[in-house]
């Protein structure tokens, strides 16, 4: 094949790309697994299966449809669902929109109240905001300082006219795992629809929809080594959940989502989910070891704060605030590693992470947070390099920091009266 990278091992890839920053941003996106890319290549070019699965009259269409259905099976298998319950979308953002708006629109005669959490992904929060514009009422729960939702508070927020509850499985910023099994018991008992954004959990946490009483679940391919631009929405058949389509034009996906199916993307998502199902347990073990190594390596730095519960958390995520250093300068100092920051300073907005603010972190600590997210190709060397880099850069920035100097002299900068700025 003309794509040598696809035949490389992880070590070879690390050597080839070592001039680039070390990638520790797997929660943002993952590279496509070379095994996935190889599969996708068989559904694009003239000599391969490039057909439109909606073409019922010839072999090209039939073969493309077979590939799509095989992938549907693979996606369903990871979450123990029926393939008929999988609807292809362009990604988890579309799935969240389709689930929340689709269910609210379909059942608007049943109630007008929705419940979600302040730490949800913007795709959920913005969909809820849109529904508020349309006359729905939304309760935004505040999570505990651990990032987890107190189920009693959720139960207390349920109303007679509550239509839908939307709670994510794993948080994208702090990696905490919500107890969706318990939430499903609460909602099912009251006949309330339960939507779960599982973009960050599929392939990382076991999901059994035979047991979990989830009605709608958003899935993404590119968070688990599949391609970008493809996702799915799980729509339960028993008991049946209905949604109103948000995209019209041809009635594909049993009328729930029109549009020609992107076969190569779907095949890629299927293969990524197949690999995840097979390798998840072993991979999690490996990643947990690396995460523990990273945490142990950073723990001797003074004045650092772990964001989010450490136990109820995927091993792929470590989110730490470094007190007395400023967010933007920290991110600049760490340019040799690719990580995310809770500081939006580099973008148009000066607002720090709303997730960290919702769990009670101060603005300063929210700004000076770093999300390390580990994945399939992270090595021990990557972790050791990162530990060393963080130590050096934090030391340098703190030597520069008047707040750190105050702290060393026993003055708490939080108690100083600063001039209004």
């Amino acid at each position: 094949m003309g794509y040598p990278v696809m035949n490389m091992t992880a070590t070879e890839m690390n050597q080839t790309f070592r001039k680039r920053p070390i990638y520790l941003d797997y929660a943002a996106t993952t590279p496509v697994d070379p095994r996935v890319a190889r599969k996708m290549m068989a559904y694009l070019t003239p000599d391969t299966e490039f057909g439109n699965p909606s073409s019922r009259s010839h072999l090209y269409g039939w073969h493309a449809e077979e590939a799509v259905e095989a992938a549907r099976q693979q996606v369903a298998a990871l979450i123990n669902a029926d393939p008929k319950e999988i609807v292809w979308t362009s990604g988890a953002t579309e799935s969240d929109n389709l689930a929340i708006k689709g269910a609210a629109h379909f059942y608007h005669n049943k109630g007008k109240h929705l419940i979600t959490c302040k730490t949800e992904h913007m795709a959920v929060l913005d969909s809820c905001r849109q529904l508020e514009q349309e006359g729905f009422e939304v309760t935004y729960l505040t999570p505990e300082p651990s990032g987890l939702i107190d189920l009693n508070k959720l139960a207390a927020a349920l109303r007679e006219d509550t239509l839908l509850v939307s709670i994510m499985h794993v948080n994208n910023e702090i990696g905490v795992i919500q107890d969706i099994e318990a939430i499903g018991e609460l909602t099912r008992a009251r006949g309330i629809i339960f939507h779960v954004d599982a973009a960050q959990s599929a392939g990382k946490v076991p999901i059994d929809l035979g047991r979990m009483k989830v009605d709608l679940m958003s899935l993404s391919a590119h968070k688990i080594y599949g391609p970008k631009g493809i996702g799915a929405l799980y729509v339960r058949r028993q008991p049946r959940v209905r949604i109103e389509a948000q995209i019209h034009g041809g009635g594909h996906e049993r009328g729930m989502r029109s549009g020609t199916l992107p076969v190569h993307q779907i095949v890629g998502m299927g293969e990524a989910f197949r690999i995840a199902k097979e390798e998840m347990r072993e991979e999690n073990e490996h990643i947990r070891q690396l995460r523990d190594r990273l945490l142990a390596g950073l723990q001797d730095i003074e004045e650092i704060y772990l964001n989010g519960d450490l136990e109820q958390r995927v091993p792929h995520n470590l989110n730490i605030s470094f007190n007395y250093v400023e967010g933007e300068s920290l991110i600049m100092a760490l340019k040799d590693i690719a990580v995310s920051s809770g500081s939006a300073c580099t973008s148009a907005s000066l607002e720090p992470s709303y997730v960290l603010r919702a769990i009670g972190r101060s603005e300063e600590l929210a700004h000076s947070s770093i999300r390390f997210s580990l994945g399939r190709y992270t090595t021990e060397q990557d972790i050791d390099y990162t530990i060393d880099l963080i130590h050096k850069k934090i030391r340098k920035l703190r030597e520069l920091s008047p707040l750190w100097e105050m702290h060393q002299q026993g003055v708490d900068p939080a108690k100083v009266e600063w001039a209004a700025h």
Binding site: P402, E405, W418
Partner: protein, 129 residues
């Protein structure tokens, strides 16, 4: 954020980082900004009997441009008479560092720090004599 080479140079190799004894009568200290605002500059000057700044140092909590602005200011201040230092404007700092529009505030804060350090030194002197 795209920064000029000059900002990056001062950020990577900040000049005159450190602290003088705040209680030394020859030292003026300016502490400006606020942690919640994202920038705090501590600028210190050492002044001789002829009211000339003989040394300056800083510590800054803030973005790269705030660090660069403070670092540049310490260089500018050395050798200047207080009256001359008092005249340094934020526009000069911003120009020198080619600060992006969103970061002009950092140069304003650096100017505030100079003024605060000079005022502190004068208060000091007043108290002592």
């Amino acid at each position: 954020m795209t920064y000029s080479d000059k900002v990056l140079d001062h950020y990577e190799n900040p000049r005159n980082v450190g602290s003088f004894d705040q209680n030394d009568p020859g030292v003026g200290t300016g502490l400006v900004g606020a942690p919640a605002g994202g920038d705090v500059i501590k600028l210190q000057i050492r002044v001789n009997e002829d009211d000339v700044i003989v040394d300056a140092c800083f510590k800054t909590y803030g973005c790269a441009s705030a660090i660069a602005a403070s670092s540049l200011v310490t260089e500018m201040l050395k050798g200047k008479a207080l009256a001359e230092a008092q005249q340094i404007k934020n526009t000069l700092i911003a120009e020198e560092l080619a600060l992006p529009p969103a970061k002009i505030g950092c140069s304003v804060l650096a100017e505030d720090a100079i003024k605060a350090a000079i005022a502190d030194y004068r208060n000091h002197k007043h108290e002592i004599r």
